[in-house]
Structures are given as C-alpha cells and as structure tokens.
C-alpha cells in the first residue's frame, strides 16, 4: 500500500472525525433539551420526548440514516449527504444522550432540589448550578461509552455514499487487493480515536468522584 492510498484513508478519517464531532456536539445540545423535557414534570412534554427516545432507540441507526437521506429528499428537501448524515447522527445521539442524562438527573437525590428550592433558586439556577453538575459526574461512564459507539456508528454513513473512513478503506481494498492490510490500518485508526476517549473518560470520572469522596 502506497502513500497515496494512505492519504486517501486519512481523508476518510477526517470525515469520520468531523461526523463524530458534529453528531456529538449537536447531539449533546439537543440531548440536553430532550433530558430537560423528559424531566420537566409537564406530562405532555414528557410523553412526547418518551416517544421520541423510543423511536430512535428502537430502530437501527442505519435505517435512521436512510430515512434522513432518502426520506427528506422525498419530501423535497434535497440535502447534501454530509448534511443528511449529520442530521441523522444528531437525532440519534440526542435520543440516547437524552435518555442517559434523564437517568442521571433523576439519580441526583431529591433533597438537592428541595434545598435549592428552599434557598429560592429558580429552575435555571437549580439545574445549572446544582443538579446538572452532579448529573454530569453520574453520567460520565455512559456518555463516554456512547461517544465511542457513535464514532464507530459513523461507518454506517458509507451506506448513503458518504466516503468516511470505512468506505475509504473499502475503496482502497478493492483497488489494491490487500484487504487484511487495509482493514488492519482502518481498524487501528478507529482504535486510535476511541481508546484515548476511554482513557480521558476514566480520568474525568476519577476527578468527579474525588470531588465527592475526599
């Protein structure tokens, strides 16, 4: 395998990183909204978000990407593959992160909310200053775990013709007939992305726990 092929893989890697980053950042923002709606105490809002989470947890990511790519095109929204996949990943991530964080928010003892209320803190401050900082610590292992899943999940974007790392590997492999070498490298590149995250996650977790259990 020559340097030209390797560069082609690296370009694929760039798209994988970008897709993961967009999916995670947008997914986090939307997921926070989902988690807050899911714990709002407003029955209608809670039911709608429960259905939303149910749909995205209950169907394969592959199908979700199909629907955002071909489905949106059917209703007249002809989107670039990149945009369609980014939307699909965002929706997917927001549902999973929303559910992870709902659980974390609910795992913060009720006395914390009561103390904050008794101190006259309003909803935004109660969440921002009291509940979420504790919920984040609780959610870290699951959140990092999901991020790693999401990075690997971006490989499904190849199905709508998007040339990210996996598809780039496929193309090169078909050209030079060295599948073992090519996919070995592709696998190593995924590992290099995911493994540091796991390590960083463990570090963050330690720090959060340290603040609580010194």
């Amino acid at each position: 395998m020559g340097s030209e092929e390797f560069v082609f893989l690296l370009i694929g890697l760039k798209w994988t990183v970008l897709l993961s980053a967009v999916g995670f950042v947008c997914g986090c923002l939307a997921g926070l909204g989902v988690a807050l709606a899911r714990t709002s105490g407003i029955p209608l809002l809670e039911r709608i978000t429960a259905i939303y989470i149910g749909i995205f947890q209950g169907t394969p990511l592959l199908m979700q990407l199909f629907v955002t790519y071909y489905g949106l095109a059917l209703i007249g929204l002809k989107l670039d593959a990149w945009v369609a996949v980014a939307i699909g990943l965002t929706l997917h991530a927001s549902a999973y992160l929303g559910e992870i964080w709902r659980g974390s928010i609910e795992a913060v003892p009720r006395g914390q909310t009561e103390a904050a209320k008794a101190l006259s803190l309003k909803y935004v401050s109660r969440m921002k200053d009291v509940i979420l900082p504790q919920a984040i610590g609780i959610s870290l292992p699951a959140t990092i775990g999901f991020l790693v899943q999401l990075i690997k999940g971006t490989s499904l974007a190849s199905i709508v013709g998007f040339t990210e790392l996996t598809r780039a590997g496929n193309i090169i492999s078909n050209q030079i007939f060295q599948p073992l070498t090519v996919f070995g490298i592709v696998g190593a590149l995924y590992f290099l992305m995911c493994c540091p995250l796991t390590i960083i996650g463990a570090r963050l977790e330690q720090r959060f726990n340290a603040a609580h259990a010194r």
């Binding site: 003892p109 006395g111 914390q112 009561e114 103390a115 904050a116 209320k117 008794a118 101190l119 006259s120 803190l121 309003k122 401050s125 200053d129 009291v130 900082p133 504790q134 610590g137 603040a211 609580h212 259990a213 010194r214």
Partner: protein, 258 residues
C-alpha cells in the same frame, strides 16, 4: 394550675408572620393534614413534635411550598401562599430551611454552598456574597473549613454549614426539619447550641424535633401533632408537666423514657 385554653398566648406579642387557617392536605386518598390552624408571631420559637408520620414535616414543608396544600390558607409575611410562582418565590426568600439530611451541595465547597443562593436569587455580588458567607460561617464556628467540600466534614459540621447557608439569605423565619435526627449523639449538642444562639438573637423559628431539652430551654410554645392534626399546644412548662391529652401523655412517656 392554669385552665386549659384552646389557643395558648405566648409571651411574645406582635404581628403574626405565619398564619395557617383550616389547612388540609391529601396524598391521593390519604389525608396528611387535618384542619391545621396555627399562627406564629415575629420572634416566636415553636417546637413541633409528635410521633413519626404525624404530619410535622409535611406541615413545615407547606410553609415554603415544598409541599402544596389543597384547602385552607397559608400566609407568610402577609403574602398569600398559593400556586403563583411569584408568591412562592417571595416567601422562599424570607424563609430559610434546614433539613434532616443537611442537603449540602456536594460539588461545591462550604464557602460556595453559602454564596450560591445570595448571588443567584438575590443578585448579591461575588465579593459581598463571600464576605457574608464568611461572617456566617464564623458565627456557626466553622470558618476554618470554608474551602473544604461537605463530604470532608462531620455530620454536625455539615449541619452547621447548612444553617449558615440558610442564614446567608438573611431570612426572617427559619424552619428546622428534624435537624439533629441524622446525627451521631456526640454531634447533636453543637447543632443545638447553634440553634439556641439563633433563638436568643430573636429569630422566628419553627423546629420539628424530638430534642425535648431544646424545647424546654428555648420554645415559647410546643405543638403536639398526631395523625395529621394539632392535638395540643402549650408553653413548654405546662406541656411537659401537665399534658392535657392522652396521646400527648403517651408520646411524652415514650420519648422521655430514654
């Protein structure tokens, strides 16, 4: 022997800062509070006692709307406590609360615990909030722990921080919900001493507690509840030596035996 009267006059006279009239509360089919009528004057110290499940905690949690009530009327500082966010907020700024489980914010230092509410709810500046927090931490004799996290403190110390945190809002009324029940016996005194000094400075207080020594020493009135209703209220002297109701006698017999 004094004649039993329906409502006991406290030596404290002055405006009523809390009035509850005909308050009733249900949890679904279970009635938690029955026709509660009570008024607390400025500077009065009330001890609320009664067997477990008698509604004491529910009653004081209604005063700052941690619990809602279905019937009757509660007024705090002249404000009618209904479901309007504005009234609830106004009342919570005047009423501090101390919980059985302390409920300090574990991710914030002792000092930050005390600074948060004045900054966020009252709009006090950071420097002033820190000054205020330090002076109140000094007052509960725990200033040297200001930079520590709650988990690093003993239960008694945590509860004193919780008192300081509530006082940082400069409340006019303090509610104590079994503040010493979760403490090891050797730590009860430090918290009670803090509460006594607060009482001596004229703070209006309602304390749910089984510390009858505290009730004897500082209470202007003791209110005894059972099954969600007020059974008896009396000056502590009379309450302990000459309880009028059978249920009160039974309760006192049980807790004073220890």
């Amino acid at each position: 022997m004094t004649t039993a009267t329906a409502s006991v006059q406290s030596p404290i006279t002055g405006e009523a800062v809390i009035t509850m009239s005909h308050v009733e509360k249900w949890y679904d089919a279970f009635q938690a509070l029955h026709d509660i009528n009570m008024s607390v004057r400025k500077g009065e110290r009330i001890v609320l006692c009664g067997p477990s499940g008698s509604g004491k905690s529910t009653l004081i949690r209604c005063i700052n709307h941690l619990e809602s009530y279905e019937k009757g009327e509660i007024r705090v500082g002249g404000i009618l406590l209904g479901n309007q966010a504005k009234a609830i907020d106004a009342i919570r700024r005047e009423v501090g609360m101390v919980f059985q489980q302390f409920n300090l914010f574990p991710h914030l230092t002792v000092l930050e615990n005390c600074m948060l509410a004045p900054m966020r709810a009252l709009g006090v500046g950071k420097t002033e909030a820190a000054d205020r927090a330090r002076s109140l931490l000094a007052r509960v004799k725990i200033l040297e722990q200001a930079e520590k996290y709650p988990i690093q403190l003993s239960g008694g110390q945590q509860q004193r921080v919780a008192i300081a945190r509530a006082l940082c809002m400069r409340p006019k009324i303090m509610l104590f919900d079994e503040p010493t029940s979760a403490l090891d016996p050797e730590m009860v005194k430090e918290v009670l001493d803090t509460m006594i000094s607060l009482a001596e400075e004229g703070m209006t207080m309602i304390c749910v507690t089984h510390e009858m020594g505290f009730a004897r020493q500082v209470a202007d009135r003791v209110i005894f509840m059972a099954s969600g209703a007020i059974v008896e209220e009396a000056h502590p002297g009379e309450f302990f030596t000459n309880p009028r109701h059978e249920r009160t006698r039974k309760f006192l017999g049980e807790i004073l035996r220890n």
